[in-house]
């Protein structure tokens, strides 16, 4: 309605002068705008949302691997609901099901009051997500700076469209006994060392393995960091100029081909659960994953707990990069009780409540604000430290361009993963030029269209 009214009336003279003035000031004195960053933004004038007694709130989120953590989240939400006279329902679906449920709700303009947003969904569904800048600024005042990746996903054109919620870090889980048997004393620190280790491990019959297929977690979190580690990128920071056709991209692919020829085993048919199962079944010696493999060994199977360790991402010539699964909460525009929904989310992000939840999550989740750094759960088990370490070098699909509808499209089409998969076909002997060419064509169709 607002947009419609604006379209009808056009710009008033006052609006024009105001906008032009801000634009001129930005160009002339950029430091003014920089100094008005998150730390100074509106915390003093923030309005704390008040829950409405008798309201009913429905929250849609994924079913996390750690069931007790989901239960704890529900418990906290319902406890808050009981204290404020609000009925709270938490609906859980699998990660794959979250997108169609969200798309249907957006299409119908009806559904849960709060939806857990994965990756760049706030960019995709901007018009359906309410402005939560006020609430995020309240959290920044209490908890410090948000994680840059969560911020990049949540903030659309300078407006917070979702409240940072959590990071599911991805690190390498490996078998120390097989590594020792192969003469590899510690997990590789660089991609080249990984090639050497993969060769030695293959000789033991338990290779290091990873998917290069369409796994929404494990494939993206592997091949994007490899690309970035060698200096490659899909698109320039402007978000318009496709930059995949570069020497750096070819270097990354050549490394991957060398690693596969040496002994890294890639599985285009694997989806996210497959490397977990292969590890639990003692068929591989290492893989990149969330903490779920290690946690399930530790709390359920107890087969390889003592001989399992975790390690952060190896470095490439251009540095260390990681990609983690990111979730944020959006309050949807159709919610009849948006203020209540916002109030509930603020309560769930309170430091004590949140740390109670991450403790139950056993290291599967990391908090998205400064106050959650050095979470005691990672000190309690040194093997989990790797998962905390991969948060800082984390980036997002499409980096260095800001997350957008276009980066989301490129991500959901698995263009980077497919490029590597093409080149890694037939034992790492695929045509590099054909792989890069196909990726470039697909990316240009997304980023360079008018």
């Amino acid at each position: 309605m607002t947009q419609g009214n604006r379209a009808k009336s056009g710009w008033s003279r006052r609006e024009f002068l105001k906008t032009a003035g801000v634009a001129a000031a930005t160009i002339a004195f950029p430091e003014i705008i920089i100094s008005c960053g998150p730390q100074s933004s509106s915390t003093p004038t923030a309005t704390i949302p008040k829950p409405r007694k008798g309201a009913s709130i429905r929250l849609l989120q994924w079913t996390s691997f750690v069931k007790p953590a989901d239960d704890e989240f529900v418990r906290q939400a319902q406890e808050w609901g009981a204290a404020n006279g609000v009925t709270v329902a938490v609906e859980k679906v699998t990660g794959d099901q979250l997108q169609p449920k969200t798309a249907a709700a957006v299409e119908a303009g009806s559904g849960p009051d709060i939806i857990q947003m994965e990756y760049a969904w706030p960019q995709l569904y901007t018009d359906s997500c309410l402005d939560v800048s006020n609430e995020v600024n309240i959290l920044i005042g209490k908890l410090g700076k948000p994680d840059p990746v969560n911020e990049a996903f949540c903030k659309v054109n300078g407006v917070w469209r979702a409240i940072p919620y959590t990071i599911v870090p991805n690190a390498w889980t490996y078998r120390t006994d097989y590594f020792q048997q192969a003469g590899v004393t510690s997990f590789p620190k660089t991609w080249d060392e990984l090639t050497t280790a993969a060769g030695k491990l293959k000789a033991t019959g338990k290779p290091i393995s990873q998917t290069d297929g369409h796994a929404y977690g494990d494939s993206l979190t592997m091949w994007n960091p490899v690309l970035w580690g060698f200096g490659g990128k899909e698109v320039n920071a402007d978000g318009k100029t496709v930059a995949i056709n570069s020497k750096e991209t070819r270097d990354a692919i050549r490394w991957a081909q060398g690693a596969v020829k040496a002994g890294l085993v890639v599985h285009p048919e694997w989806l996210d659960p497959d490397n977990n199962q292969a590890y639990h079944a003692d068929r591989i010696s290492g893989t990149l994953n969330g903490a779920s493999i290690y946690i399930r060994e530790k709390i359920e199977f107890h087969h390889y707990t003592d001989v399992t360790n975790n390690a952060p991402m190896p470095s490439g010539p251009k540095g260390t990069f990681a990609m983690n699964l990111i979730f944020n909460h959006a309050v949807m525009k159709w919610s009849p009780d948006a203020e209540t929904a916002k109030a509930m989310l603020l309560a769930l992000m309170e430091k004590d409540s949140y740390l109670k939840w991450t403790t139950v999550a056993s290291g599967y989740n990391v908090g998205p604000f400064d106050a959650f750094h050095n979470d005691p759960i990672f000190a309690a088990d040194p093997k989990l430290k790797a998962f905390e370490d991969v948060v800082a070098p984390g980036k997002w699909p499409g980096w260095p361009a800001s997350p957008s509808k276009k980066t989301a499209q490129s991500q959901t089409q698995y263009i980077v993963a497919d490029m590597f998969a093409k080149a890694l076909a037939n034992g790492g002997t695929g045509d590099i030029e054909a792989a890069v060419g196909a990726a470039e064509t697909s990316l240009k169709a997304i980023f360079e269209r008018p």
Partner: protein, 296 residues
């Protein structure tokens, strides 16, 4: 066929036809049947043994995965005590039965009308109905979501009972059109000459003769409704209103970890009603086929 019958391999010296002996029959009939049985039943076998394996045995590939060493009922116990599986099964049955009945009612009327009543455009409408069936549900769910919202049926079993016929009616109608066309028109015309109305001719003559087709359409509709996933995923929210396919995947898959024991127990139990229905109606179906217009 006659040419095939003449090609008989005779045992040297005896003059007996190999095809008539046990070995011949085994090669011609039982071996292919066995292969087909293994292919079709192996998934059920796999579901069954997986649902009885303990957590440690599930991922132990040092022994044959085709047997269960230490069977356990833990997954079934968990399924019935820690999840809403019985409720999901009840919901699935309600939705499948109701949407099948609605679809059959509409399809019988539509199929009979298109097959029997001579009106302009009947053939085109028939093709149009079939083409409608070809529109994938993945495209239809977004507009249907809007409709369900307008009807305020989210999180209500009626949302499924009313949307499933959108893909069931076109196919059932198409199928029944064929069956009605296969019944000699003269039988109904004789009834009409004897004073029956069109409705009476349909109800008393055509429908009983088309019973095999109606049963086949019912089985088809029931199976599709029982297994439907996408609409149930989109339209249902609370655990207590979910159907088996959605409830099982949402509550037994956690992140990237699959809980195979419970999943297979649920899949096995979920497939039993359909299997029973098929085995029960196969005889009925064949009997219906042999009784026909010629019985007069």
């Amino acid at each position: 066929m006659a040419a095939v019958a003449r090609v008989k391999v005779r045992r040297p010296g005896t003059g007996r036809v190999i095809g008539d002996r046990f070995v011949g029959r085994a090669l011609r009939i039982y071996l292919p049947l066995l292969v087909m049985l293994v292919v079709t039943l192996f998934p059920f076998y796999w579901m069954a043994i997986t649902s009885f394996k303990s957590a440690s045995e599930l991922f132990d590939f040092s022994v044959s995965p085709l047997w269960v060493r230490e069977p356990t009922l833990d997954w079934y116990r968990h399924l019935f005590t820690q999840t809403n599986f019985p409720r999901w099964a009840f919901n699935t049955a309600i939705v499948a039965i109701a949407s099948t009945l609605i679809s059959l009612f509409c399809s019988i009327l539509a199929g009979y009308s298109l097959a029997r009543l001579r009106y302009r455009g009947a053939d085109t409408i028939g093709w149009g109905i079939f083409v409608t069936y070809l529109v994938p549900p993945t495209l239809l769910f977004l507009p249907l979501t809007f409709v369900i919202r307008e009807l305020h049926l989210f999180n209500n079993l009626w949302a499924l009972i009313l949307t499933y016929p959108t893909f069931l009616i076109p196919f059932c109608t198409w199928m029944l059109m064929g069956f009605f066309k296969g019944i000699p028109r003269e039988l109904e015309e004789a009834a009409l000459v004897d004073g029956a109305t069109r409705i009476q001719a349909m109800v008393r003559i055509a429908i009983p003769l088309a019973l095999p087709g109606i049963l086949a359409a019912a089985l088809f509709a029931f199976t599709l409704s029982w297994n439907e996933f996408l609409y149930a995923l989109i339209f249902m929210n609370d655990s207590l209103v979910k159907t088996i396919p959605v409830g099982v995947t949402q509550e037994l898959i956690h992140g990237d970890e699959f809980f195979w024991g419970e999943l297979m127990a649920a899949a096995l139990l979920g497939s039993v009603p359909v299997a029973v229905l098929y085995s029960f109606f196969v005889d009925y179906f064949v009997a219906g086929m042999t009784a026909g217009a010629v019985k007069g």
